[in-house]
Symmetry: C2
Subunit: 312 residues, 2 copies
């Protein structure tokens, strides 16, 4: 039986950093993922990753990927659908039917975009409704679009879209943004962005294509239609940890509960990145926690004392 030392599920910043570190420790390492880069791909212009000058998130993730491969990690493209514990081993089944066995797992499969749940959303998803400004902004050259949300993702998406579209509505249900001050300043200074505050979208209008969004002002209760060709959802993410729920503890947000060393409540299962209960979903934090989880998995597998590299 082909047994991996470590199987990492998810290939975003946390998973790829874990793969790099596991590989350097010469652990037999596999990464199972539906994509490469995860949420790391979705930033058009990452400027808050220490040590790296501004660049597309996708480029940064391609570097993570090549480093993971360089140190020997194997990449298996596919969706992990089940995890079972068999004595000291973990069996990971893919949706395709393949099954793999590993002595330790590192869960780094992140989160998926949240939807609004309003009429027209499902109908136009992927055809006018998008959850990835980085991916789809160039499609809206000289068109009008709207972004919904109030965090960094929403404000950054509006800025990104303003580079392409002639008009960008930023719809936010409050007056204050949760995004970083510097980013909010930029969006407020952009002549192409119009803030639609204290408002929520009620319906996406259109026959074959999106033609507008019905929004309601929460203070005046007035409704109006914004004429747009597309809508970008930047309202957060949901975490789907059902695959692991019988083995490890999850919190009220369904995030995997980890300790400060990346250990879940099940010995041999570690986790890092956005899928965990760490409150800050940042590339640099996911990468650091991924590295730490891999070193902790190495300590678990080898029975070596956990301590600083240089300790006596």
């Amino acid at each position: 039986m082909n047994v991996y030392d470590v199987m990492i599920i998810g290939a975003g910043p946390a998973g790829l950093a874990a793969a790099l570190y596991a590989g350097r420790k010469k652990l037999k390492t596999a990464v199972v993922s539906i994509d490469i880069g995860g949420q790391g791909n979705l930033t058009s212009h990452i400027e808050n990753y220490p040590g790296v000058f501004p660049q597309p998130g996708m480029e940064l993730m391609e570097k993570f990927h090549s480093q993971a491969l360089r140190f020997g990690a194997e990449l298996i493209l596919g969706k992990a659908s089940e995890i079972h514990q068999k004595q000291d081993l973990f069996e990971v089944s893919l949706a395709s039917g393949e099954t793999y066995v590993a002595r330790a797992l590192i869960l780094t499969f992140g989160k998926v975009p949240r939807q609004l749940g309003i009429p027209g959303e499902d109908k136009f998803m992927g055809r006018g409704v998008s959850t990835c400004a980085t991916c789809d902004a160039p499609l809206y050259k000289n068109k009008s679009v709207a972004v919904v949300g109030g965090g960094n993702s929403a404000v950054e998406a509006a800025l990104e879209l303003a580079n392409h579209a002639k008009k960008v509505y930023l719809i936010h249900r409050r007056t204050e943004f949760r995004a970083d001050g510097v980013t909010v300043d930029k969006v407020k200074a952009s002549p192409r962005v119009e803030l639609v505050l204290e408002s929520i979208p009620l319906e996406i209008k259109g026959e074959k294509f999106v033609t507008g969004i019905l929004v309601e002002n929460l203070v005046t209760n007035k409704k109006k239609v914004l004429a747009v060709d597309g809508l970008f959802l930047e309202i957060g993410y949901v975490v789907d940890t059902s695959i692991a729920k019988d083995l490890v503890e999850v919190n009220e947000n369904k995030e995997l509960v980890v300790d400060s060393l990346g250990r879940t409540t099940c010995a041999g299962i570690f986790a890092a990145g956005d899928v965990t209960n760490t409150p800050f979903k940042q590339t640099i934090i996911a990468a650091g926690d991924g590295a730490r989880a891999a070193l902790q998995a190495y300590a678990y597998l080898t029975g070596k004392r956990v301590g600083p590299d240089w300790a006596h």
Copy 2:
């Protein structure tokens, strides 16, 4: 009175990452440090920092530095010598006599190299005895040197020195190295490196210059002199947290105890990086934890709920 929102003490990977994140949150931020880059400067060739292809540690730290400045952090060169709490504020005194006031502190001042405590060490420190292979390796072109230690730092120092010196002894008191397998393989394959295992240095010999090292084999108790021109200490580090010991809890290694969000036991004082009780002293981990401590300090200062950027 000129009050900073956040004063960061130390400018290694953790401190500079914290400065970048604090600056992006538009906090009035200062970094006090005796140097820029800290331990991050000491790796000649960092290849395990995700997203960055192999480069000198000093170059990577220069990027961290420029990002911190770009987002508005102020750099104050000097040694912090005292910290006092005055109601809700912290007063930081420098060895030079200057005093600064901040609403929150992030302690990221790392650790300093450990010494052997053997005859000749103090006499030759900086003149044949070094704690920085990256800095001093080029001085030993075609000479003979020894490295003491068994972790990644020691093995990497031996490899770095083998690029310059004609002969490198790697003295380690055990037979197994704690360093990463890939790095150990490289040093074993190097024709210029000779392993001196199960041995410890007893004395550094020489009149005006280092001429040799007396080593003892711990198994046979035989002693011999290795003829070398220099000795590199890679035996670990000591943490000096005396500046904060009256305010925050430290562990048995004198490291600052932090929770998984970078909080010390004193409200308003945060910490990250090698100065904390995190067991893995790695650049990527320090950077991630520095970013997290800054976001947590921001939450403390603004009273904002701590949660993912995109949460409802």
